[in-house]
C-alpha cells in the first residue's frame, strides 16, 4: 500500500495554488479536510504520495509558496 503525505497551508487559496502548481508538474494530489490531529483549523490540506515528497517540496519552494507543516499520513 502506498503511503500518503499531507501539506498544510496558511489558507485555502494557498492550498489551491499548491494544487495547481503540483498538477502542472504531473503530481497526483487531492485536497482533503485538514486532519484534526495535525491542526484544529477547519481548512483543507493537500494530500500527495509520500514517495514524491522531494518533488513536492521542490515545486513549492521554486514557486516560493510557503507551507506550514508537511507530515506523513498514517492509516
Amino acid at each position: 500500500m502506498s503511503q500518503y503525505g499531507v501539506v498544510l497551508f496558511s489558507g485555502t487559496q494557498a492550498a489551491l495554488r499548491a494544487e495547481k502548481l503540483l498538477e502542472r508538474v504531473g503530481q497526483v494530489v487531492k485536497l482533503i479536510p485538514t486532519p484534526r490531529h495535525l491542526s484544529s483549523d477547519c481548512g483543507v490540506a493537500l494530500r500527495f504520495s509520500w514517495a514524491e515528497q522531494n518533488e513536492v517540496v521542490n515545486t513549492l519552494d521554486r514557486a516560493r509558496l510557503a507551507y506550514e507543516t508537511i507530515a506523513i499520513l498514517d492509516g
Binding site: 496558511s10 489558507g11 485555502t12 487559496q13 494557498a14 489551491l16 495554488r17 495547481k20 485536497l31 482533503i32 479536510p33 485538514t34 484544529s40 483549523d41 477547519c42 481548512g43 483543507v44 516560493r64 509558496l65 510557503a66
Partner: protein, 388 residues
C-alpha cells in the same frame, strides 16, 4: 436586450457583457455554489477553485508573480481605499494628479484632515500630468504617488512608466487607479514599476459589477497596512485575531464568487480576442468620433484629441445647450446612452475649466459598431444645427 439602443457609456460600466460571462455566472450558481474556502467539501472547493483561477489569471494578466498578492475587493473604489487608508499615516506626504476621480479625491481629502499632507501635480488642458511637476513635488516624506492610468473624463493616458521610474528613484510607493485601463491597455506592473494596482472588474475587463481588486507588488509592506474590514476567512478559525497572511488578511467575509466567475470569463474573452485587436477597433472608432465632432459647429471637444494618447472616452460640450439637456435628448430622441455632468471627477473638470457643469461623455466599447458611431455624429450634428 433592446438592440435599437446605442450604448456609449462603457466608461461607467461595459455593456453588453460577452455571452460567456452570463453563461459562466449561470453555471456557477447552478453547479459550484458552495462557500469558497469555508467547508472543504467538493462544492466549497469548486467555488474556491473558481476564485483561485480568477486570481491566478488576473495576476498573470497584470504581470504579478504571486497570485496570492492579488486581493479581491468589491470595486476599484474599495481597492483604492484599502491602499490609501492602509498605507498613509499622519505626517506622510502624498502626490496625486489634478485629474483624479473622487474614488481617490474623497479618501485623500478625509486623510488630509487626519494629518496627511497632499500635493497635486497640475495637468494641461489635454489632461496630461507634467512629469517635471511630479518630480519637483517629490520629497523625502513622500510615501505615495497616486495617478489614474487614464482619465474617465477625457481618456488621457498618463505617462505611467515614467512616473513609476521616478517613484523608484525616490523610494516612494506608486499606486495606479486602472479603472479605465484594465482590460483596455496592456498593463505589466513590473515593466511599468507600479507597486499597487487598483482595478475594477465591470468596465474594460467585461465582468459584472461588484468585482475588483488590489495588486500588492513586492515592495509593498502589506504586514503594516491597516485593514478596512476584519472577520471570518475560513482559515485559522481557532484564533480570534485576524490572520496575517495573504490574501486572507484583506479578504474577510464570503467573497463575491459568482461575480468572480463572471470576471474570469470576461478576462478570458479579452485574452481570446487579443487586447491589440480590440484596441485597434476602438481606436478607429475613437478617431472617427474625434474628427466627426471636431468638424461640427458649436462643439467643444476636450482631451488629447489623439486616439493614440487616449482610451475610448470623449468629452464634449455644445455652446448654447446644457449638458444635461444634450444627454436627455440623445437618450429620448435617439436612443443614445451617454453620461453628462461631472462623472464623479470635480478635480478633472476644474483642470479642464468645465466645472461645475461638466461635459457630455461618449465611451464606446468592444461591442460598439461603426454605424452606431455614425448615428451619434448625425444626432449631435442635428442638435448643433438648432443652435445656428
Amino acid at each position: 436586450m433592446d438592440s435599437s439602443l446605442i450604448y456609449l457609456d462603457n466608461a461607467a460600466t461595459s455593456w453588453p457583457k460577452p455571452p460567456e460571462v452570463v453563461q459562466a455566472m449561470a453555471s456557477f450558481i447552478a453547479e459550484s455554489g458552495g462557500n469558497p474556502g469555508r467547508s472543504g467539501h467538493r462544492l466549497s472547493l469548486a467555488a474556491g477553485r473558481v476564485v483561485y483561477q480568477a486570481r491566478e489569471e488576473l495576476a498573470d494578466f497584470f504581470g504579478l508573480d504571486d497570485p496570492l498578492r492579488l486581493v479581491f475587493t468589491a470595486n476599484v473604489t474599495e481597492a483604492i481605499n484599502l491602499a490609501l487608508y492602509g498605507l498613509l499615516r499622519s505626517g506622510d506626504h502624498v502626490i496625486a494628479s489634478s485629474m483624479e476621480h473622487n474614488a481617490v479625491m474623497r479618501p485623500l481629502r478625509h486623510l488630509q484632515r487626519e494629518g496627511v499632507h497632499l500635493s497635486f501635480a497640475p495637468c494641461g488642458m489635454d489632461g496630461h500630468v507634467s512629469l517635471a511637476h511630479v518630480e519637483k513635488l517629490l520629497k523625502t516624506q513622500t510615501r505615495l504617488v497616486v495617478v489614474n492610468h487614464a482619465s474617465n473624463v477625457t481618456g488621457t493616458i498618463q505617462p505611467i512608466a515614467e512616473i513609476g521610474a521616478l517613484c523608484r528613484e525616490h523610494n516612494t510607493l506608486f499606486l495606479v487607479d486602472a479603472a479605465q485601463t484594465a482590460g483596455v491597455l496592456p498593463i505589466n506592473i513590473e515593466e511599468l514599476q507600479i507597486d499597487l494596482l487598483a482595478f475594477t472588474g465591470h468596465k474594460g475587463l467585461l465582468g459584472p459589477t461588484g468585482t475588483g481588486g488590489l495588486l500588492l507588488g513586492e515592495r509593498v509592506p502589506f504586514e503594516e497596512m491597516k485593514l478596512l474590514v476584519r472577520g471570518g476567512t475560513g482559515s485559522r478559525s481557532e484564533y480570534e485575531e485576524q490572520p496575517e497572511f495573504l490574501p486572507d488578511r484583506f479578504e474577510s467575509g464570503t467573497p463575491n464568487s459568482i461575480g468572480l466567475a463572471g470576471l474570469l470569463a470576461g478576462l478570458q474573452f479579452i485574452k481570446s480576442h487579443a487586447l491589440d485587436a480590440l484596441r485597434e477597433q476602438e481606436t478607429s472608432q475613437l478617431a472617427r468620433l474625434i474628427i466627426g465632432l471636431s468638424n461640427l459647429p458649436n462643439v467643444r471637444l476636450f482631451g488629447p484629441r489623439d486616439p493614440s494618447r487616449q482610451v475610448p472616452v470623449v468629452s464634449f460640450t455644445l455652446d448654447g445647450m446644457r449638458v444635461s439637456d444634450i444627454g436627455f435628448r440623445l437618450d429620448e430622441e435617439y436612443g443614445i446612452l451617454c453620461r453628462p455632468g461631472l462623472q464623479c471627477s470635480p478635480a478633472a473638470h476644474r483642470t479642464l475649466g468645465t466645472f461645475p457643469h461638466g461635459t457630455v461623455r461618449l465611451s464606446p466599447g468592444p461591442f460598439t459598431k461603426d454605424r452606431e458611431i455614425e448615428s451619434v455624429l448625425e444626432a449631435v450634428e442635428r442638435l448643433s444645427a438648432e443652435l445656428l
